[in-house]
Symmetry: C2
Subunit: 172 residues, 2 copies
DNA sequence: GGCATATATTTGCATTTACAAATATTGTGA
DNA sequence: TCACAATATTTGTAAATGCAAATATATGCC
């Protein structure tokens, strides 16, 4: 006896995944035109927002696995998009990642494309709807992250035992 | 001069990706407990919803690339979750995929877990908020898919030149 | 100060993924 | 009915992914 309370079209993870995949598909061509992969774009966007950041903070902001991110940063260094260095005075376990001038320039060419994509995605939305949607997505993320933290302790998305990365320039 | 109109925390693809990744991370353990991968679960859920389906329709419903899906189906057949067969009388290019009894049983054990996850994700949401969120995600998907179709013609997410798969039992 | 433990990043490795090419079958027009 | 284009699926292959182990550094305790 199937519980008919389960309808894919009303199942949040399904709806979210579908939107995520479609957005990636739509942005792919613009990224390709700039010779930037999706993950690289995410890193660039994070750095634009937060300034120079440590590797683990970029991982947590971008939702990229930290080992994948390490390799992505290799590629980005090769392309001259970012540089890595140890902090001058502080904790030498840490690696600071910073966008180069070129990386910043590439980011600035992509940002308008990203905004265009968002505009497309939100066609027909009132300003109120748009902010309601975004606010709800923030709440959903918080709910799921909190749940993850309560359970596995580390199977969770928010891998920050320090402090949630500010996303406000905290370089130094 | 950075256009300060671009804020990650208000950028829809960022918010959506973050939620998608967190949901996957939260569901992972339950899938592992049933020895089912994420993609396999998506296929099972699609079949539960739509009954026996052709490969390409499963791909479009699940947002799984069709070549990846083909291999996923191999694994699922090996595990006894689904069977593939050519349709009796119809178009012999097509392959019909059907859940086995075992596949159906596994699905039914996962569905309540999936519902629990959704409940967690939507904690604190009123019924109205919940349906508003889902309805907006449907609209966003439609917007992006329409845009994709208009452009690349095939770089689009909705790969269905036939007819949008019903998601309502259309087997036969 | 020195050793055990904790934190940060990278690397090893097997699996997964997606693009493109190959294969199989159908539909169409001469 | 014979080529030829269209559709559906699978397979070849190189790159991306994520887990776990390895490495590097830091911190706390005695």
């Amino acid at each position: 006896m199937k519980s008919r309370r389960f309808d894919l079209e009303r199942f949040l993870p399904y709806l979210v995944n579908r939107v995520a995949v479609s957005l990636v598909g739509a942005f792919g061509p613009m990224l390709a035109a700039s010779d930037v992969t999706l993950q690289e774009w995410r890193v660039l966007a994070a750095l634009r927002q937060g300034g120079a950041m440590r590797v683990s903070d970029i991982a947590s902001v971008t939702s990229i696995d930290i080992s994948t991110l390490s390799r992505t940063l290799n590629a980005m260094e090769r392309k001259g998009l970012v540089v890595r260095h140890r902090p001058k005075g502080g904790d030498a376990r840490v690696v600071i990642v910073e966008a180069t001038e070129h990386g910043g320039a590439v980011t600035e060419t992509l940002v308008p494309e990203a905004q265009k994509l968002q505009t497309t995605a939100l066609a027909g939305f009132s300003a109120e709807e748009e902010s309601a949607l975004k606010a709800m997505l923030v709440r959903v993320f918080a709910n799921v992250a909190a749940q993850g933290k309560r359970n596995g302790g580390d199977a969770a998305p928010a891998r920050a035992p320090r402090s949630p990365p500010t996303l406000a320039s905290d370089r130094g």
